[in-house]
């Protein structure tokens, strides 16, 4: 209905294979970026930044990472949080032990370290598939957290086993306010999301999906499944690693390994299920959903509480949250296995064909 595609014809493959071939979409995207980069920083409250926007962006990044591995390459992983932890602790140690290293470089270093670990734990995918692999990633989850807890070096022998992220300084500018931290995160996430989209629509992305959909056929046309999978593990872990570092540096500040527990891994998995497997958009939608849902729930619970004087204990609220998550996962897997992203896509198609139904 809003779409007016007549006259938008393409005279080169360049134009035809763009990320947003339709003009109206390009405009919409620019609008979103404008809001994110300009409007929000002007209007949003510190609470909005540090309680919603920042975690939303960071988790989106992690979700995109997991989506590359699970959604695109079809390798189920239950250890996303562990790789985030690697990223966080590695970055911390880079800043700590490499004098004068720019913090951004430290993030990249953290990502690369996570990628390395990712490859190691991806090796089993040489021989094993499906749940077996999921279990391997669980092993990563437990082993890595254990190592970070038990081996003092990682926490610089902090007595209580926590690390305190160093301040973010880029070109001498201190990013210490919620707003400035938000902008850092936003910038990084935007760039990496774009990169993810490029990989997904490029040769490597096709290889991932090929391995996911029909690995024998993939082999027969010359794709090396092993290589493709390890790439997926590496890239995915890199994304998670950077996300983990941001999680520590611009969200939590002081972090213990337990912050990256199995529970977080599951949440990220939920994000891509709800958001939509095998799409970059899905990462953002899922993350938004999972970040906002608890807030909505607790607000409604409190509202009920106040109006009906039920005096509901807080534990109930949190359990309610858990329940709803569980139920939602099942709901989405049953009703719309392709998640919010698909719903978005369908409604978009409808708009393009309006007033026709199909």
């Amino acid at each position: 209905m809003l779409y007016r595609e007549v006259g938008q014809f393409r005279t080169s493959y360049e134009a035809d294979s763009g990320i947003f071939p339709i003009r109206q979409d390009r405009i919409a995207m620019l609008a979103v970026l404008a809001v994110a980069f300009v409007i929000l920083p002007l209007v949003a409250s510190p609470y909005l930044f540090s309680a919603i926007l920042i975690p939303f962006l960071i988790l989106s990044l992690a979700a995109i990472g997991l989506n590359i591995l699970t959604g695109y390459a079809g390798q189920l992983s239950l250890g996303a949080a562990a790789f985030m932890a690697v990223g966080a602790f590695a970055s911390y140690n880079f800043v700590l032990r490499v004098p004068g290293i720019p913090v951004l470089a430290a993030f990249v270093g953290g990502g690369l370290m996570a990628a390395l670990v990712g490859i190691v734990f991806g090796l089993p995918s040489l021989r094993i598939r499906g749940f077996y692999l999921a279990v391997a990633t669980l092993a990563a989850q437990f082993f890595i957290l254990w190592a970070l807890t038990k081996i003092g070096w990682f926490t610089n022998y902090n007595s209580s086993g926590v690390i305190t992220a160093q301040p973010i300084v880029i070109f001498g500018f201190h990013f210490d306010t919620p707003r400035s931290k938000y902008l850092v995160v936003l910038a990084i996430v935007s760039v990496m999301a774009l990169a993810a989209k490029n990989m997904a629509r490029g040769n490597i992305g096709r290889q991932w999906m090929a391995v996911r959909d029909m690995d024998i056929a993939a082999e027969v046309i010359g794709i090396r499944p092993m290589r493709a999978k390890l790439y997926a593990f590496a890239v995915s872990s890199f994304y998670c690693g950077v996300a983990g570092a941001l999680f520590a540096y611009s969200y939590l500040g002081t972090v213990e390994p337990e912050a990256y527990s199995l529970d977080l891994s599951f949440r990220i998995l939920f994000m891509i299920i709800i958001g939509g497997m095998g799409t970059v958009l899905g990462g953002f939608l899922g993350s938004a959903f999972i970040v906002i849902l608890p807030i909505v729930l607790s607000v409604t619970v409190q509202a009920l509480d106040r109006t009906l004087h039920l005096s509901i204990p807080t534990s109930v609220a949190s359990n309610l949250e858990i329940m709803v998550f569980g139920a939602l996962i099942i709901f989405f897997l049953v009703v719309e296995p392709h998640g919010l992203a698909r719903i978005w896509q369908i409604s978009k198609e409808k708009l393009r064909l309006w007033p026709f139904p199909h």
């Binding site: 005279t11 080169s12 493959y13 360049e14 035809d16 294979s17 990169a195 993810a196 490029n198 990989m199 490029g202 040769n203 490597i204 096709r206 290889q207 999906m209 090929a210 996911r212 959909d213 029909m214 024998i216 056929a217 993939a218 082999e219 027969v220 046309i221 010359g222 794709i223 090396r224 790439y231 890239v235 095998g278």
Partner: protein, 280 residues
């Protein structure tokens, strides 16, 4: 097929403009010698040997379970025979690895279509170009320089195939939504995208109606004629086999029972015996 426009000229469209026209059989392209393949106790193939010459269309026929598919799987390295050698383009191997086979120029289609269901027709065929794409991960992530150029060039080539197979209307359709006959075409397209020297077709016409079969026959012959591609196919429909193949190899219970020109094979008593009650 090529236009002299700036865009259309892009991409290694090599085989598609001009291409070889001669159907004169060249030298031996593929030779398999005393191949034997076992699964546990089951003898899938026993001591099979035959040759395929360049530009030839060779049909492998035989009753169900005669080991036809296994034979293809051996040639392109999905199965590894316990015994025998495979010589392709002069290079002898104990057995192929799927990757070597692909890299050496062997492509194939599958009996029960093995397309990448989640991907569009275009992407499915693009995967066939993966061996020719060199750009590194970073270049792809930034979609700059080599990565972009490569992507566009190969797109141009793939469009030639889409045009050749007359599936322009479905370019952006996820293959899962296509009717069976069209999926078979896409499967062929993906194989063609590899610009193979040797093309293995596993029952390309299985489950098709007459019209679809006719189309597929035309495509197979056009491929062979226009690009000089050597073709080995498995087919049940004898009329098809007789129509398009230069030579026929007959398998029965994993053994070769005949090898020769279609008519000769048709009248071979051993073949008739094997087929009794199966064909006609």
């Amino acid at each position: 097929m090529m236009r002299d426009s700036p865009q259309a000229a892009a991409g290694g469209a090599g085989a598609f403009d001009g291409g070889t026209t001669d159907r004169a059989l060249g030298d031996v392209l593929l030779r398999v010698e005393n191949i034997s393949l076992r699964f546990g106790g089951v003898h899938a193939l026993t001591d099979i040997g035959f040759e395929v010459r360049e530009h030839e269309v060779l049909a492998i026929i035989g009753p169900n379970g005669a080991g036809k598919s296994s034979m293809l799987n051996v040639i392109n390295g999905v199965y590894h025979p316990q015994q025998g050698t495979i010589t392709f383009r002069g290079k002898a191997r104990r057995h192929m690895s799927t990757h070597d086979a692909a890299a050496a120029g062997i492509a194939r289609t599958f009996q029960n279509i093995a397309l990448f269901k989640g991907m569009t027709v275009l992407d499915n065929i693009m995967t066939g170009r993966n061996l020719r794409m060199r750009a590194g991960l970073l270049a792809q992530a930034l979609y700059f320089g080599p990565a972009r150029r490569e992507e566009l060039e190969h797109r141009a080539f793939v469009e030639q195939i889409i045009d050749f197979l007359e599936i322009q209307a479905y370019r952006r359709t996820p293959v899962g939504r296509l009717p069976y006959g069209l999926q078979k075409r896409v499967d062929l397209g993906r194989a063609l995208a590899m610009e193979p020297k040797l093309l293995l077709l596993d029952e390309p016409m299985a489950g098709m109606n007459l019209e679809e079969k006719a189309d597929m026959c035309r495509f197979v012959l056009d491929v062979n004629e226009q690009f000089g591609t050597t073709i080995v196919l498995i087919e049940h429909d004898m009329s098809v086999v007789m129509e398009i193949s230069d030579r026929v190899v007959v398998l029965d219970y994993g053994r070769k029972i005949a090898d020769g020109a279609p008519d000769a094979v048709r009248s071979d008593p051993a073949v008739i015996a094997a087929y009794l009650g199966i064909v006609h």
